[in-house]
Symmetry: C2
Subunit: 478 residues, 2 copies
């Protein structure tokens, strides 16, 4: 009972303390647990099941766009990491170093991969000779380590799970096409599977990936008005190719450097789902990534026929959905709270009276709406409801984002918005990094991206007042 | 052309130099590549696709037996690794140590997980309170690192991919049931999916896992007569529970220690597939794990209608199988050799004359047999052929193993068999580790297992001549 009490205690309200609310949800929805390794999280079964559904859908999309999975070593020799100058500058300060193997001190330190560009480059330099070997379209599912000072579950941790795509192409144009193609795959996945709308755009020079020629990003807005970088794709041009001498013979028998890309999404997406859809009762999951889409809660389950009916309904519904019967000995009220906390999209209640009336009660997690439906054709009712929930979550998230996207024409406005109603700020920029630095210093907001869909919201840079070059989405971020 | 020549060069014959043949196959079948990190391999797309098929099938079996996937940290603090005495003695000499994070020296060294018992124990000690929390049935897919001195692709590498199941139970009996259940899941998978027959049994005290009360194993016999430990399951009793204080309150409200198990299989299985089924033309894959089950090779593909027919056949066959059309500009003979090297189970040849005759040529990789089949109902012909290949591979492997399993009654016989016709040796053992040590020293053979199916092949220990206790499978091993 002590344990039950602990769980039904209300979690912190998101409007009172969003950070605490987030921490409460990841713990009480049983997504993660802390370990004795600072900044490393344990992804519990329920959290990992969400990741598996994300993986499965993304992996299919990667394969449909011609990519194959491979596996590179966990370790990178220090000399290999150092081959591309910008890359090593960006990553060396935050890697974990292996210095001993067994009882021996290593002749050369190995870093635990923070990302695998250098390993793929070495592989490409050994495996690409001719234009016939191109393109190389690879992806890898693995964990990476970045020695962060402050960490938060899913959002920023020393170790996290991700996928990293790495491709090599004959021309700059092909690499650029790939970079945009995968950004679109990411955005489409986030909208249609995670029900999170994305702003697509290009990162500024200041914000781009270490070693990239250009970085593209999808940015989403969390419930508290902060932005979350949700996925990035990079066009490396031939920078890495020159550092690693990755050359091919073209059709005219001339040596050319390849053009490369990389792109990644991580378990951070689970953090986005929590912070975009969650509420004061806990997690709210889009059906597409819900480990349990429908939980059947038998009412007065000791009465004859109730558990049998629940099992029968499970059998019928699980042809199309992930369904569980909760026949534990907890009270129905307790079960309701627990499955709400875990964000199960649909609760189906079935008791003796319902059975008599040939009906069931369906309760939506997203709106709390109840409906009574006939058991005849309940498959269609549930399927329709799951579709409606998936759609509603995206619409709600879009409405929230749009109503929290503002225009600022000068720094006074910019600052006031961030203080009073945080969200995305659309503002013009002269293109000078000095202004970007100044904005960050004054407001702690950063340039999230230069969106593909440009608008001219004013004629002058929001910071310096000089002629405007680009409209930028600004925001405080995770 | 230089590249083509390199590939069609015959690989070393397996009977001339088995180790070299193995190395040739893993490279030329494009399974792996070496990296600049000693002992770490790059698993290339074709090799990884095999691993994905293995994962998918095993993962389904784990879930069907009630297990859920989780993810534990990559790192283990030195103090945590040291909690269970036998375990740390077994693993500490072969772990990689992280001593620095970013620019800082760590207060405590972290090892890169060689296996995750200690992490699961810490997790259990925080998450198990009552008998209601049991059993805990978890599995993890990840990579682990063991600092081996000599390495071979798939068979023994510094880093390898695996799954590790970790479970906690209320009683010793339940833990024992789980240990045997998962051994059976492993053996069944190996026989029916990898087409490799297994000997199931218990490890001797000398050969058991560091920290286990008892270890069970499935052992297979390679083409060269060496044994390969293919999967192990461990019953830990309450040893780890006592070291980590993992206790639960039973129904009588008394504190009890849990009983734990773990079990693992690795990418080593791919090595087993190579060494059991392969031949002098390269890899031979059982259809169940073949990334391409049927390769369609168009003959005279420039002739009108040939590529169209190949595409049509692909469309028809891929409803049931993994099918590829090889329409590259290489010669048919070159393609044949390449797909043989890669172990594709069925080659389908289709040319203008075949189209005219409404037929195709099917060639089996396992026997080389050709058959001409009608295009009407070719789906059934191919499916039947794939089934026959899967079955034949298992039968061939079983026949090879059985014909290379010998009985030895004394050390003279034992030594002679190992020298002349290496294989499994069934011989009686007194149960004394001194004899095990002596046999290893004299012959380098080890006790592979004490099989569940015991026979009394003689009355006295093969080594010391004292009263026999157990029949043991002995062999040289990888």
């Amino acid at each position: 009972m002590a344990k039950e009490k602990k769980l039904v205690e209300a979690i912190t309200s998101m409007d009172v303390d969003f950070a605490q609310w987030y921490t409460d949800v990841v713990k009480k929805a049983e997504l993660i647990d802390y370990s004795s390794v600072r900044g490393c999280m344990i992804i519990k079964a329920y959290g990992y099941a969400i990741w598996e559904l994300i993986q499965k859908d993304l992996d299919r999309r990667f394969k449909e766009t011609g990519h194959e999975n491979v596996y590179m070593p966990l370790f990178i020799p220090e000399s290999l990491l150092q081959k591309e100058k910008d890359h090593v500058e960006g990553f060396a300060p935050e890697v974990a170093w292996v210095t001993h193997g067994g009882q021996e001190k290593l002749a050369e330190r190995l870093c635990v991969r923070p990302t695998s560009e250098t390993l793929f480059c070495e592989f490409y330099s050994n495996n690409i000779q001719s234009y016939r070997d191109l393109p190389k379209l690879y992806n890898q599912w693995c964990s990476v380590v970045r020695w962060e000072k402050t960490t938060r579950p899913f959002l920023r941790s020393l170790e996290f799970l991700w996928q990293e795509g790495h491709t090599a192409h004959a021309t700059h144009e092909e690499a650029q096409e790939e970079t945009i193609r995968m950004l679109n795959v990411y955005a489409d996945f986030c909208e249609n599977v995670l029900a999170i709308p994305m702003v697509k755009g290009k990162k500024t020079e200041k914000e781009k990936f270490a070693g990239a020629q250009s970085t593209y990003t999808i940015e989403s807005l969390m419930h508290d008005g902060k932005a979350l970088q949700s996925g990035t794709t990079h066009n490396f041009g031939d920078g890495f190719a020159k550092a690693f001498e990755i050359q091919y013979t073209d059709k005219e028998n001339k040596l050319q450097y390849v053009h490369q890309t990389s792109w990644g999404m991580t378990t951070r997406l689970i953090g986005a789902v929590i912070m975009v859809h969650g509420d004061d009762s806990g997690l709210v999951l889009p059906p597409a990534i819900a480990p349990v889409e429908v939980v059947i809660v038998p009412i007065m389950q000791h009465k004859e026929g109730v558990l049998e009916k629940a099992a029968e309904l499970k059998g019928r519904l699980e042809k199309a959905s992930r369904v569980r019967v909760d026949d534990s000995d907890k009270s129905p009220g307790w079960k309701f709270a627990e499955h709400e906390m875990k964000g199960v999209p649909v609760r189906l209640e079935i008791g003796p009276k319902d059975i008599e009336a040939n009906q069931a009660v369906l309760v939506r997690r997203d709106t709390g709406e109840k409906s009574i439906v006939s058991l005849d054709g309940i498959e269609a009712s549930v399927e329709e409801l799951l579709g409606a929930i998936q759609k509603n979550l995206l619409e709600k998230a879009r409405a929230h984002r749009d109503s929290h996207t503002y225009i600022a024409k000068d720094m006074a406005e910019f600052t006031r918005i961030l203080e009073e109603t945080p969200g995305f700020i659309k503002a013009m920029w002269c293109g000078d990094q000095a202004c970007e630095d100044e904005i960050k210093e004054k407001t702690s907001a950063t340039a999230r991206c230069m969106p593909f869909e440009q608008e001219r919201v004013s004629d002058t840079c929001v910071c310096c007042g000089k002629a405007a070059q680009k409209m930028v989405y600004w925001g405080k971020s995770y």
